[in-house]
């Protein structure tokens, strides 16, 4: 029987060319009985890592050869294969140089680079043109005679026999052996339509008009051995196997060395780490550890395991970064699996105090799992760049780079691109995309698209739906990971090629975080968090105005403060980290968290995962009457005890699998990873049977096992690890503490770090006003760029800053403050002399900033305009104006406020309408409490948000805001559809319906009639945040 090795095969990481995933290619090659397969994407090894992971996971016996296809600037085409590790390093270096010379997505290669290949094997692909092929043959044979082959492909095209004769002649003339190769682009012939579509997308012209530019047939796919035997002479096939035998390099040989310079001489990594941990214990536990006996032994256990797995460098590298941030007073916080280790707490990487939370060290590092620990560190989002530049400067640009993320096709982009390729009209595609509701569980998008007018039986639309389905998940291009850094001891490109990212001074490796994980390479995540900036700004304001010095550890050391928790239980959490969203606010009064761990649960439970898994109600039920919680076994009680018998955290799912179903640590972790991606490749089903069988073996009832599995499937992508929730809970507590004790400083901190969080400045100001904090308007003489605190009527009020004025640049604001004398500006002309740009002057005028100069805004703008035409000298001799605009009405000034500073201090739209008597009878938000349950009520308010979470069967949650507070309105699908006109378009709405008061005092109004009141204020440009 013949044997063959495929040496020239491109995956879909040759963007818009290859039509199959690396995994599919490797599996099909294995099925067809090939000896080996080389993944040779164009100037990239991105696909090779995926292929390696697939082989490892499915334990295929086929050999993977690492290689790449190159097209030189003069048109010479080569396939380069790596027989040994040094050859691999050679190739990575050449790819890096080629990529770094040209902008993102392209590469440039000259013959000089080919000359640097000392160990790589070269397969030359002749072009078929006599003169050029001979010239190239001369050049190539001069460089490397014994590592060079001619690659012949058989695609049964029109004049292929001449091409083959030409190759034969070249082989004899230059005594070069010939090998058969496939030029494979598809793992199965049925992928031809997809390959044509990709080509159409790349060329930007519809498929029908590409004609002869497309592949003529399906031959560029993996073909059976006996078909190859027909096509190629036996000698060529055997040559391919001979080449494959010479390639012994395997990706597992890639070893990772940490940067060694951090260890001071005279220390081994272990001893240095132990020394750091001892220092840490002194600072973290100043009053000794005698009443916490379990902490010291765990630290010993952790250190012994770290030494065993040689992860010392990893901790020391992160420790170094964190110390830099501390020295620059940049607030930071470690999270992820690292938050489970006490060593990290001692190294001040994480802030989760082991004394409060029960940490699960296995989750961090486990003996059998050889998977790297991953530590994410959040920094203040305005100062993260300083940390990144520190890393680049410390390790050098050639030793560190960002991990890649693969941007792939999602339904919307797939619909648009495939539609254009098939020649469907642009306006029609926009119409489809806007109308398909992706969260709709019961109607798949294919059926939805038919109701929208795509006629189902035309051949084109059948192709359209199947192509969109196939292209989803295909990579479009590589972009940089948000903050994942790869740091190596030697030059990084020996390990993996590095290419330019779209941002100027950033470089990206060609592998994403999953590839790094499967190849065992270290990654440190440097992420940005807005709340940290807000908290640091609040601390600074408190220090400046209240002269109190506070830090995060000081606050957590004070343990749980009942007053703060009472505020949280009242759902008065606007602006607080993680628990400010509408869904959280409706759960807080029911869960009534009163301790740190309750907060951890609160953050984890109000997420789509637990909600879909149907875990919220049982948790509440068990909490009310803990007596009748039934644990089927002692072991499970130990796992689920702290969460009232209901699995909420990912760690608990792993522990259940290990304890109840007898999974090993490694299998449990693969279950966790499968949970994350089951929507894409459906691996979870395989683990499902294993889990249920395992639990039955340990004699749990079948329905309990299935319910647990259902809950795990519900977790899907949103299951939240306990460690993350623990770290977030710290910030949530600190921000609520600040909101309770220093509200003014808290609001200013938030406003100065905007955009962040769930609410717009207008709503934050509204909330501040409800907490009786006085808000002083922006004034030309008092305000500075940032919002500040100002002592006003014996308490701290918030003075709005120039940053709130739309259209005013920071530079101009700074200039205004500098040129302002002590007692401020006397009249408008002084400002005109500063020759500030005209549109910025107008922005100031419309923000009514010149009130202090006794000019209402129309007057101010009118006088500002007169100056511009005749220059400044004449202005003094200006005669009194014949025309002076009269003052704006309240309504007009309100509209002006929203247009200029996006909020209004003195009036609320609803208040104005009420005073104008346009609203008729309605109940303001704050009087809703004294309305009985199930009573008919009508409310009026500004629509500040619409949410239609996927979980609800088409029910929409609408939030109305009037001058006294918020009202939650529930709109059933039927009412929404029936009164669609009012429901969708309105900004101010009057809703009449039935008031419902759930447990814990949470009130909703079930909408009966919706009246659109917005025509009354049609110019109001209030932007509501709509989460459809």
């Amino acid at each position: 029987m013949h044997s063959y090795a495929e040496l020239f095969c491109q995956s879909n990481f040759s963007f818009l060319t290859g039509a199959s995933h690396p995994e599919e290619l490797v599996e099909q090659a294995h099925l067809l009985g090939y000896q080996a397969i080389a993944i040779t994407d164009e100037c990239s090894v991105a696909g090779v890592a995926r292929a390696y992971t697939a082989i490892k996971e499915k334990s295929l016996t086929i050999k993977l050869i690492v290689g790449s296809l190159f097209t030189l600037s003069d048109g010479l085409r080569l396939v380069v294969l790596c027989p040994t590790h040094t050859a691999y390093a050679e190739m990575c270096r050449v790819i890096t140089n080629a990529r770094r010379r040209s902008p993102k997505g392209q590469y440039e290669l000259t013959f000089w680079d080919i000359r640097t290949f000392k160990q790589c094997l070269l397969i030359w692909l002749p072009q078929g043109n006599e003169a050029r092929d001979n010239a190239w043959a001369e050049q190539l044979t001069a460089v490397c005679q014994e590592r060079l082959w001619i690659g012949c492909q058989r695609h049964l095209t029109a004049n292929e026999s001449d091409y083959l004769a030409h190759c034969e002649k070249l082989s004899q003339a230059y005594t070069l052996p010939v090998t058969a190769c496939g030029g494979v682009l598809m793992h199965h012939p049925d992928r031809l339509p997809l390959q044509h579509t990709l080509c159409a997308i790349r060329e930007g012209t519809p498929v029908a008009s590409l004609g002869r530019h497309l592949l003529p047939n399906r031959e560029r796919s993996l073909r059976s051995l006996d078909k190859l035997a027909h096509l190629f002479p036996r000698k060529w096939l055997d040559e391919s196997v001979a080449i494959a035998k010479r390639c012994t390099f395997c990706m597992s040989e890639l070893r990772y060395q940490y940067p060694a310079e951090l260890i001071p001489n005279g220390h081994t990594p272990t001893s240095y780490l132990r020394q750091l941990v001892e220092q840490g214990i002194k600072t973290r536990f100043p009053y000794g550890l005698d009443d916490y006996p379990h902490i010291l032994p765990t630290i010993e256990k952790e250190l012994k395991l770290i030494a065993l797995k040689r992860y010392e460098h990893f901790f020391i590298t992160v420790y170094d970064i964190v110390q830099f941030a501390k020295s620059r007073h940049i607030l930071y916080q470690g999270r992820g699996s690292a938050a489970n280790s006490i060593v990290c707490y001692c190294l001040e990487i994480t802030a989760v105090d082991p004394r409060q939370a029960d940490l699960l060290f296995e989750r961090f590092i486990s003996k059998e799992r050889d998977e790297e620990p991953d530590i994410d560190v959040d920094f203040e989002h305005e100062r993260r760049e300083e940390v990144i530049q520190y890393i680049y400067q410390k390790y050098g640009r050639h030793r560190t780079a960002l991990a890649a993320t693969v941007v792939s096709y999602r339904t919307k982009s797939a619909l648009r691109e495939v539609g254009k390729a098939l020649g469907i009209k642009e306006t029609q595609l926009d119409y489809f995309i806007k109308n398909i509701n992706h969260r709709d569980r019961d109607l798949s998008w294919q059926t939805q698209i038919q109701t929208l007018g795509l006629d189902a039986n035309a051949t084109l639309s059948q192709h359209f739906t199947s192509l969109v389905e196939q292209i989803r998940g295909f990579p479009r291009h590589l972009s940089q990971h948000v903050g994942g850094f790869v740091i190596a001891s030697g030059p990084l490109y020996e390990l993996v090629p590095v290419e330019n990212a779209s941002m100027a001074d950033r470089s990206v490796i060609q592998w994403d975080k999953d590839d790094l994980e499967s190849l065992g390479l270290l990654k440190v995540d440097v992420l940005a968090l807005g709340m940290l900036t807000a908290i640091r700004k609040s601390f600074q304001l408190i220090a400046k105005h209240y002269q109190h010095e506070w830090t995060i550890p000081d606050i957590t050391r004070l343990r749980d403060d009942p007053q703060v928790y009472r505020m949280i239980q009242k759902a008065d959490t606007v602006g607080v980290f993680q628990i400010e969203s509408r869904a959280q606010m409706s759960m807080l009064p029911r869960l009534r968290p009163k301790s740190y761990y309750d907060l951890v649960i609160q953050i984890a439970i109000v997420r789509p995962g637990p909600i879909q898994g149907g875990m919220v109600h049982p948790f509440l039920k068990n909490r009310e009457h803990p007596a009748d919680i039934r644990y089927p076994s002692k072991a499970l009680e130990q796992v689920l005890g702290r969460t009232n018998g209901v699995p909420i955290f990912q760690e608990q799912v792993i522990k259940i699998a290990m304890v109840a179903a007898g999974f090993s640590g490694g299998e449990a972790d693969q279950l966790r990873r499968a949970m994350g991606t089951w929507k894409k490749n459906g691996q979870l089903e395989m683990y499902g049977e294993k889990l249920v069988k395992g639990m039955l073996a340990n004699h749990y009832e079948l329905d309990y096992a299935q319910r647990i599995f259902e809950q795990i499937k519900g977790f899907g992508t949103y299951g939240f690890p306990e460690s993350h929730a623990a770290s977030f809970a710290v910030l949530a507590y600190v921000s609520s503490w600040l909101k309770h004790y220093y509200p003014a400083a808290f609001y200013v901190g938030l406003l100065n770090s905007w955009p962040m969080g769930f609410y717009a400045p207008a709503q934050l100001i509204e909330d501040a006003k409800r907490h009786h904090i006085h808000i002083l308007p922006i004034c030309i003489n008092q305000s500075v760029y940032d919002h500040t605190l100002e002592y006003h009527q014996q308490e701290w009020a918030i003075r709005l800053g120039f940053r709130q004025v739309k259209g005013l640049s920071e530079a101009t604001a700074m200039k205004l403050c500098e040129c302002r004398s002590e007692k401020g500006f006397a009249c408008i002309d002084e400002i005109r002399k500063l020759n500030i740009r005209q549109d910025e002057l107008e922005a100031l005028a419309s923000a009514n900033v010149f009130k202090a100069l006794s000019q209402h805004r129309y007057q101010a703008r009118w006088s500002l305009m007169t100056a511009t035409n005749q220059g400044t000298i004449l202005s003094e001799a200006l005669p009194a104006d014949a025309f002076s605009p009269d003052a704006a009405s309240d309504m007009q000034s309100l509209v002006e406020d929203y247009q200029s500073i996006r909020l209004s201090l003195d009036h609320h739209p609803v208040q104005l309408l009420r005073e104008a008597g346009l609203l008729g009878r309605y109940t303001p938000a704050d009087q809703l409490i004294n309305i009985r349950h199930q009573q008919v009520v009508s409310v009026v308010g500004l629509v500040t948000g619409r949410q239609r979470p996927g979980t609800s069967k088409g029910v929409t949650f609408m939030t109305l805001e009037d001058d006294t507070g918020y009202v939650n309105v529930v709109v059933w699908l039927a009412t929404a559809r029936h009164q669609q006109k009012h429901f969708l378009k309105s900004t101010i709405v009057k809703v009449t319906g039935i008031l419902e008061r759930g447990d814990g005092g949470v009130t909703h109004v079930i909408a009966g009639r919706i009246e659109d009141k917005s025509p009354l204020l049609d110019k109001l440009t209030f932007k509501a945040r709509h989460f459809h």
Partner: protein
């Protein structure tokens, strides 16, 4: 009484011409593609709540089965030209203003129609016949009339105060001022035209811009407003009464030559050529018969036309005696001098276009064509035919050794053949309903003829081409 202007504003020309064809009540909207905003909507769409300037997403959410069409300004301008052409019979001074507005000078026509009312009645009668929705208004200056029409004033009157008071209430957004200056005006409390007119012109020129002052001056009639009017292009139309009825088509030639001479004089005077002429033969108590004669190359000489017409007449059979005939030449265009270069030896006196029009006149238009290259792997879609000589050939790569003749449809192979060369595999065309899965071979039959055959996956053999 200074001048009186009438302005007709057609808000949805494209939609109206569309709705005329399909009568049923369907929700149709016209979307302006660059900003994806609704500009015109059918009554059904209006009921479901769709309004002007709404974006596509909101409109789609409001109404399920919606037909979306892109806005084409060119088609609107053409319909506007047709309307102007129709109105030209009633009133002379018409001028276009934008793709959807017609400005008519009314005061010159008043004494012809004894008064504004009669004039407007005649005009209205003509407009209703065209079934286009329109807003109308009169004003003392062109811009005033336009503003009032856009406002939808719908008054025909020439007394001054009524017009100026209506003008004062116009909103600023309808004026031709760009919206940046409109916003500046709003910001100092000026919402309507009246308030703007209150400010003296020099102040406006000082604070805003000169063209705003000019615009206001023209609206109020203080400054002149030159207007250019529409004149339809002339074309040849000539009726000839026959002395005695003619029944035999051949003998029609003599009267036709007289008409052709008149045509030649008309064209030569204006130095124009025409590519198509049409004879309408008025038959006794039978419907008119019209005969179209086309020439590929623009022609004005009567002799050449006579030649072509005689070829056409051969094929013509008359059902009833002819009493009169009219000659009508539609598309006449200015003659560009033909620059034959010196080198081409011109033996015969016919140019290739003249030869082509002669052949087409003899054997019919679609029996004469020129071969062109398509762009497809499937042979039958790669060899195309076009009717005129001047469509350029596409520079697409040709593979060596293709058969000289391609059978119109592949025919099952019946003879015994020996395979000489192949296979060449073609598997494409999945996107239209003529997919091809073929392996092509060059084969030779016992008689020595070279055949181009192919085999399908179901092992059937077909003959597709001959290497002659």
């Amino acid at each position: 009484m200074q001048g009186l202007w009438l302005y007709l504003h057609f808000p949805q020309l494209q939609l109206d011409s569309l709705l005329k064809q399909q009568t049923q009540e369907e929700a149709v909207i016209i979307v302006e593609t660059s900003r994806m905003q609704v500009v015109q909507m059918s009554p059904a769409a209006y009921e479901s709540g769709i309004r002007k300037h709404m974006n596509l997403g909101a409109a789609a959410a409001l109404c399920e089965a919606l037909q979306v069409l892109p806005y084409e300004e060119k088609s609107e301008r053409d319909t506007l030209k047709e309307i102007a052409h129709h109105l030209y019979h009633i009133t002379s001074d018409i001028s276009f203003s934008g793709p959807s507005g017609l400005l008519i000078r009314a005061h010159t026509m008043l004494n012809l129609y004894q008064g504004l009312k009669h004039y407007w009645l005649a005009l209205q009668h003509q407009l209703t016949a065209l079934e286009f929705t329109y807003h109308y208004a009169t004003g003392h200056t062109p811009l005033a009339a336009k503003l009032l029409a856009l406002q939808g004033w719908h008054h025909i009157s020439d007394d001054n105060e009524k017009i100026t008071s209506a003008l004062k209430k116009c909103a600023l957004r309808l004026t031709d001022l760009d919206n940046k200056s409109v916003q500046k005006l709003n910001r100092i409390g000026i919402q309507h035209l009246g308030e703007l007119m209150a400010i003296p012109l020099p102040d406006i020129a000082k604070r805003f811009s000169h063209d705003m002052a000019d615009y206001l001056g023209r609206v109020m009639g203080l400054l002149p407003h030159p207007v250019s009017f529409y004149h339809p292009e002339p074309h040849f139309h000539h009726y000839k009464e026959l002395l005695y009825e003619i029944t035999d088509s051949q003998r029609l030639l003599t009267p036709i030559t007289h008409l052709l001479d008149a045509l030649e004089r008309f064209l030569r005077l204006r130095d124009k050529l025409t590519t198509q002429i049409c004879f309408t033969l008025h038959l006794r108590d039978a419907p008119e018969l019209s005969v179209y004669v086309g020439a590929q190359q623009g022609e004005y000489r009567a002799a050449m036309w006579k030649n072509l017409v005689s070829l056409q007449l051969e094929k013509l059979s008359l059902t009833a005696p002819v009493t009169g005939m009219t000659l009508h030449a539609e598309k006449a265009y200015i003659r560009q001098p033909e620059r034959p270069d010196l080198f081409t030896t011109k033996q015969g006196e016919l140019s290739r276009l003249q030869l082509l029009s002669m052949l087409q006149a003899k054997v019919g238009e679609n029996a004469v064509f020129s071969p062109r290259l398509g762009n497809d792997h499937r042979p039958e879609k790669h060899s195309l035919q076009v009717n005129s000589l001047n469509t350029p050939a596409s520079a697409v790569s040709a593979y060596p050794l293709r058969p000289s003749f391609l059978l119109p449809h592949p025919v099952p192979l019946t003879e015994k053949v020996t395979i000489e060369h192949g296979p060449e595999r073609i598997q494409t065309g999945w996107w239209d309903d003529a997919p091809a899965e073929r392996d092509y071979f060059i084969a030779r039959n016992h008689a020595g003829q070279w055949y181009w055959v192919f085999r399908t996956p179901q092992q059937q053999w077909y003959l597709h081409g001959i290497f002659s």
